[in-house]
């Protein structure tokens, strides 16, 4: 288990006063209360997508405007109360996990679409608009918001900005950072700053780039200006199955080497194929060791052309099966299993940890072999899903949450996988963030000097370390916690 810091007793003792003050700053609205303080309703917020960790916060505030967010931050800053920002709470790294002495600021009531401009190809939305909500608002005119995390139905754009989230199509369209134009940013002192706007490049320091992916460490985001893109004329997928992970890895190299960049290039290993097939009946080949889903875009003739070239490449590697979708429906069928992958693994094992390292793609066979060995030695099953084009690996480690020993093993197994990712030239997290989950592994990837430098940049924004403390950076170097941690 990853340690959470001792709560500040003085803050806990002032709880009633704090709740009263917050109620004044964020009054109840027509859609619900502005502040939540009772134990039963606080439990709704006690965890996020990393549900093995639970901690009800001191209070939850649900502001409806940038001004209210600023007022709450001003208050917390003055009173030296810790703050945990929260979108939909789908973080898989415990990024939105509350602390006992912290106020959770939930952005879900800020869910308005403020502006859509097709000529300038942008949309201005509040932080609590869901990822899919943006695409739905512009799809009628043939546009979309490109980054598409699998959680897109629930996760919110503010959370996407803070995690720099990716998706299945970032091979072509990039991650969140490349699809942003600006944010309304509120500092811990409660100052409201507009960063970026409707234009593409910053002049001066790239604050937008630094804020993106900062996991709530630097400030809160209340509004986001995103780029919207015209959707392609069409898209179609194919499925190719192979005898070994090595061969499938070679196919990925051959595809990239051919100069064709598919919009998606997804890899599943044998356990993942079996889990998904049992769940979705997508017709996946159960005799395969590895399977690729490859998707291309263009008009029908271009799709035929590209899929033909890709099939020819696959055929050079003796595929077990090759299925090229002829229609949009067949394409959906190919994707059906992959899209339900988390649910599918959840059916085999209700409890699993979803890891998120990135590796140089050429290391895939080696890494999968090592993960297989670890799986044997820990006695825990694992299924691997891999964004093969960009090296982002998602091993799903299955465990039994009723057995504390099983959970401890799963965490240790996960840590070993991430260390391996760093060892082969990759990183701890490709899209889910460090959160609490990987906090203590940061020293595997970074030197103490590098961590000190990152902490100094955080301190420039948040000198008292009130924002999402106890996340991202190991506790030892945390200036706000270290003295207490050492008694």
């Amino acid at each position: 288990m990853i340690a959470l810091p001792e709560p500040d007793a003085a803050v806990l003792a002032r709880r009633d006063t704090i709740l009263r003050d917050l109620c004044r700053l964020v009054p109840d609205g027509p859609f619900g209360p502005g502040v939540i303080g009772d134990a039963v309703r606080l439990r709704v917020y006690e965890t996020d997508g990393l549900s093995a960790y639970r901690q009800p916060p001191l209070a939850v505030v649900l502001p409806t405007s940038t001004e209210e967010v600023a007022a709450v931050l001003r208050y917390c800053h003055k009173e030296k109360i810790r703050v945990v920002p929260r979108g939909a709470g789908t973080s898989l790294s415990g990024g939105a996990l509350p602390l006992a002495d912290a106020v959770v600021i939930g952005l879900m009531r800020m869910n308005r679409i403020l502006e859509v401009d097709f000529d300038d190809r942008l949309a201005v939305v509040e932080a609590g608009v869901t990822n899919l909500g943006i695409t739905q608002a512009v799809a009628g005119d043939g546009f979309f918001y490109a980054p598409d995390p699998s959680s897109q139905l629930a996760c919110m754009i503010g959370g996407n900005v803070m995690m720099n989230s990716g998706g299945a199509h970032c091979l072509k369209y990039g991650v969140t950072a490349g699809n942003l134009l600006g944010v309304t940013f509120v500092t811990i002192e409660g100052e409201v700053v507009r960063v970026g706007g409707g234009h593409l490049d910053a002049a001066g320091y790239d604050w937008l780039g630094l804020i993106t992916g900062s996991e709530g460490q630097l400030g809160l985001v209340t509004e986001v200006t995103v780029r919207i893109l015209r959707a392609a004329e069409g898209a179609r997928a194919m499925l190719a199955a192979f005898r070994s992970n090595e061969v499938a890895g070679q196919v990925v190299d051959a595809i990239i080497g051919s100069g064709i960049i598919p919009v998606a290039l997804e890899f599943m290993d044998r356990p993942a194929i079996h889990a998904c097939e049992a769940f979705a009946n997508a017709g996946y080949p159960l005799d395969a060791e590895a399977m690729l889903i490859i998707e291309v875009e263009g008009d029908t003739a271009e799709q035929d052309d590209l899929l033909g070239s890709l099939a020819a490449i696959c055929n050079r590697f003796d595929p077990i099966s090759l299925r090229v979708a002829e229609t949009a429906e067949q394409s959906l069928a190919i994707w059906k299993g992959r899209k339900g992958a988390f649910g599918a693994v959840g059916r085999i094992s209700p409890d699993y940890l979803c890891m998120d390292g990135t590796i140089p793609t050429g290391e895939l066979p080696h890494v999968l072999r090592r993960i297989g060995e670890m799986s044997d030695s820990y006695g825990l099953k694992v299924a691997n899903i891999f964004h093969a084009g960009d090296g982002n690996l998602h091993p799903l480690i299955m465990f039994d949450a009723n057995d504390p020993d099983s959970f401890r093993k799963a965490e240790a197994f996960g840590a070993d996988i991430l260390k391996l990712c760093v060892e082969v030239g990759g990183c701890l997290t490709g899209e889910h963030g460090v959160g609490v989950e990987k906090r203590d592994l940061m020293s595997v990837q970074f030197t103490e000097t590098e961590l000190r430098q990152q902490r100094a940049v955080k301190s420039a924004f948040d000198p008292d370390w009130l924002l999402n403390s106890a996340k991202v950076f190991p506790l030892e170097g945390n200036p706000a916690l270290a003295p207490r941690a050492h008694g």
Binding site: D120, R230, D305, G362, V457, V472
Partner: protein, 394 residues
């Protein structure tokens, strides 16, 4: 020269910064100095060059990733990439003509200025979006890495983005790692004469809002390449066999704006190279050049204001989102640019100007008060003794 330090390796850079801090003698940080005339002259007696740190250290075409030491000339990298049919997707410009010299750009300098060409509007984004990793020496004389060599990485604060475009004021880049893309097999240009800027930007927006994969959208001034009026140009790049149909479809889509022609082959490639390098503005070396980033629909009005204030030579790229303006190197002209940019909600860079002007005026927009404090503290966090490029940005 005694006042120029040319280390051959990273250790030498660390030592140079260490001494600068110890002796409190600031450094002008540069690659080979090809962009020395950008922004404001640095107030430092000594120059630290990374020009001696050269060489590609990693190139995996099948992983679309390349690392090179900071002083490696961009042209050398591009030549190596060309052998594998790959490119740096952001299409970084070659500004030698604009600055009136023949000094090659280094990759470190390119990243430190975060300059992208026409393809910046495409899904690949800006050079900073393709920056996977850096090694840098901070003002603490310490080596700090950020990012890595893999395409997806959200581990820790993204110092890569902070350093891209920091003009050597936060750290000395010693090595960078970039994400690559296949070189498009072919490209062609749909060219549409337009009566004015507003119609031109509207036509570019229509093209960029189409599903045909426009990878460049610019507005050329009248007179360039012999055109009688402004010319909207839209580039399509992909496999050659896909382009004729898409060009036809795009011309059809644009027919309400007028009849568009085609520019193909080398002529098209040359046009986009010139646009990338802002070549039409290179003439008149004593004039000032501004680079303005703005919401595309605000560009025509912005350009109108500039035109009223001085005789502006204008070039629009990024669908109107990037305005290059050339005009007299006077404080009055600069005031006009600042006012027009602020009114348009955009940002400006005084890109090139004779020393007297760039010493006298803000070369970048002033930051909001809350960000100014943060900027000071971030600068102090990375360069507490303020030895790196003092005065360059403000």
């Amino acid at each position: 020269m005694a006042d120029r330090i040319d280390p051959a390796d990273e250790a030498g850079v660390i030592e140079a910064v260490r001494q600068a801090v110890a002796k409190r003698t600031p450094l002008a940080v540069e690659g080979r100095g090809s962009k020395r005339a950008m922004l404001r002259p640095v107030q430092a007696g000594r120059t630290l060059s990374t020009g001696g740190l050269t060489g590609i250290t990693l190139y995996r075409p099948e992983e679309m990733v390349l690392s090179a030491r900071a002083g490696t000339p961009v042209a050398e990298i591009e030549a190596e990439l060309a052998r594998h049919n790959q490119v740096i997707p952001a299409e970084p410009p070659d500004l030698a003509a604009l600055f009136g010299h023949a000094i090659p750009s280094t990759i470190g300098g390119m990243v430190a200025t975060n300059l992208s060409g026409p393809r910046r509007i495409g899904p690949g984004g800006a050079l900073r979006d393709q920056l996977l990793g850096i090694r840098m020496v901070t003002g603490h004389a310490e080596l700090v890495r950020s990012g890595g060599r893999v395409h997806k990485n959200v581990t820790g604060l993204d110092l890569c983005k902070l350093l891209a475009g920091s003009h050597g004021t936060l750290g000395v880049l010693t090595e960078v790692t970039l994400k690559l893309a296949p070189r498009p097999e072919a490209g062609l240009t749909v060219a549409l004469p337009v009566p004015g800027l507003a119609q031109g930007v509207a036509a570019l927006s229509a093209g960029l809002g189409s599903p045909y994969g426009v990878s460049g959208a610019a507005l050329l001034p009248a007179g360039w390449r012999g055109s009688g009026g402004p010319l909207a140009v839209l580039r399509l790049e992909d496999f050659a066999r896909f382009l004729p149909r898409r060009a036809e479809a795009l011309r059809g889509l644009l027919s309400s704006f007028g009849a568009a022609g085609l520019i193909e082959g080398d002529e098209s490639a040359a046009l986009w190279r010139d646009l990338r390098d802002a070549a039409p503005l290179a003439a008149a070396p004593d004039q000032a050049i501004w680079r303005i980033s703005v919401r595309p629909s605000a560009a025509p009005d912005l350009c109108g204001r500039l035109d009223q204030a001085f005789e502006a030579r204008l070039l629009l790229d990024w669908g109107g989102g990037l305005v290059w303006a050339a005009g007299p190197a006077t404080a009055a002209a600069h005031q006009a640019v600042m006012a027009a940019t602020a009114a348009a909600g955009g940002v400006f860079t005084l890109f090139r100007a004779p020393d007297p002007l760039r010493v006298a005026v803000p070369v970048l927009p002033q930051e909001a008060p809350a960000l100014r404090g943060i900027a000071d503290r971030v600068k102090a966090a990375l360069d507490p003794a303020a030895v790196l490029n003092p005065g360059r940005m403000r």
